[in-house]
Amino acid sequence: MLQKSRNSGPVAAVRAFAGHPLVQRAFVVGTVAVFVYAAWVGLTQAPPDREMGDVQRIMYAHVPMVQMMLLAGTITFVCSVLYLFRASWKTDALAEASAELALVFGAIGTTLGAIWGRPTWGVYWAWDPRLTTVAILLVALAGYLALRRFVDDPERRAVWASVTGIVIAVDVPVIYFSVKWWKSLHQVQSNPRTVDPDMVHALRWNILAFFLLFIVFLVVRYRIALAARIREVTVPEIEPRGREAVAS
């Protein structure tokens, strides 16, 4: 694997620190701690909403999940573009890991949104432009991951996945605006209001919690992807030919 010599300096120090197994274990423990605290704040400390009541608390999970989906999607898009300019297995592995996370976080986040919608809007689904765009994006991501699974050649897979990733990312705003126009025939938009500072506090902690969790998942998934890539492209040790070779 190509790797520039980076064995000294501040970057190397950060790498050594982050790569230390004890540090990584501490990070995971810290993530769980923040997650538990944020859940506690969201479920017990934050006040119920003036109109939604306690149903508001679903937002503390729904909003961060969808935000992480968008972050993951952006990472996949950037890696897709990057790969076409400079091919690298690391970029490809990161694109794959991030796409899977986007699907997982997005699917759960959308489900949470639908559950929230039932008592507030009265329906699980309302062809809301954002909701619909995310639903379409999830299907598109499933297609992206299916493509990766069905192409055997690693280099072609990486190029085609990058192309697909770019097309999906470019289409997302297009989808959003067309659904908005399509739905604008029957307008039902959520109203923006000023938010209680206690709610902001709960939301902030939850966003941090889900972000840390996202990082942990991303690193693990990235490693799995990179290891798989290395296994695919490494030429196996050639066995010694044995007695017949000596005669020739």
Binding site: I136, G143, V167, I175
Partner: protein, 228 residues
């Protein structure tokens, strides 16, 4: 040997693709009957209330075209893959972008012809009336089929070299095409039912911008898809 220009090679390849389709008319016929069968299926699944069917006619047309496009696109690349003609073309050398343009335009033409063919069927089966003009209807069909062919040709090339290609192509294509589907179906519905609020031109403009975007993207990305 001087490399042929983009437009020249596009034209040559375009004629080749059309000739191939003409030579294998049976395949094209099968495609026509498939789309007819699809319309019948919709009528049976959602009928027999004629008023309801008539209101949905615009949508059914585009669903039938979308499903047929998957077959058409798959076929379009199957021949290429079986005879390794894409690799052969690259050796000539032909600019990959002219392959994209020619294949895409041939596919769009085939689909548009199919679309126009289905209109009288809609009139007969679903009691549809053309309230706006034929010109607007044809324009919608052409622009919509161009929108299908652009990412369709790109993904068709990818899927033809992957496993489970019959499932992969629609899975990749359909989410991307939803905006175009919405615009084309809406435009067609307005043609069939009248346009009191003058929305038709906005939908057509939308569809046109999708075409520009998808063809631009495909034009830039296709060479990466077929390069070795």
């Amino acid at each position: 040997m001087r490399r042929p220009g983009l437009l020249a090679s596009t034209w040559v390849l375009f004629r080749k693709d059309l000739l191939l389709e003409w030579r294998s008319r049976a395949r094209v016929n099968a495609l026509v009957f498939f789309s007819l069968a699809t319309l019948l299926l919709f009528s049976f699944a959602l009928g027999p209330d004629t008023a309801l069917l008539r209101r949905g006619a615009g949508g059914y047309l585009w669903l039938a075209l979308l499903l047929s496009s998957v077959l058409a696109l798959g076929e379009s690349f199957r021949l290429e893959r079986e005879n390794s003609t894409l690799e052969g073309l690259r050796l000539v050398p032909v600019d990959a972008r002219s392959i994209y343009l020619s294949k895409g335009l041939a596919n769009a033409l085939l689909l548009a012809a199919l679309g126009v063919l289905l209109v009288p069927v809609l009139v007969a089966l679903l009691d549809v009336r053309i309230v706006l003009s034929w010109g607007q209807l044809v324009a919608t069909i052409v622009l919509g089929c161009l929108a299908i062919a652009a990412p369709g040709t790109l993904y068709g090339a990818i899927a033809s070299h992957a496993r489970a290609r019959d499932v992969l192509l629609p899975l990749l294509l359909f989410p991307i095409l939803i905006p175009a589907l919405v615009a084309a179906a809406k435009g067609t519905a307005l043609v069939f039912e009248g346009d009191p609020m003058g929305q038709f031109s906005s939908w057509i403009a939308l569809l046109g911008s999708f075409d520009v975007l998808y063809w631009g993207l495909g034009f830039v990305l296709f060479p990466r898809v077929v390069e070795e």
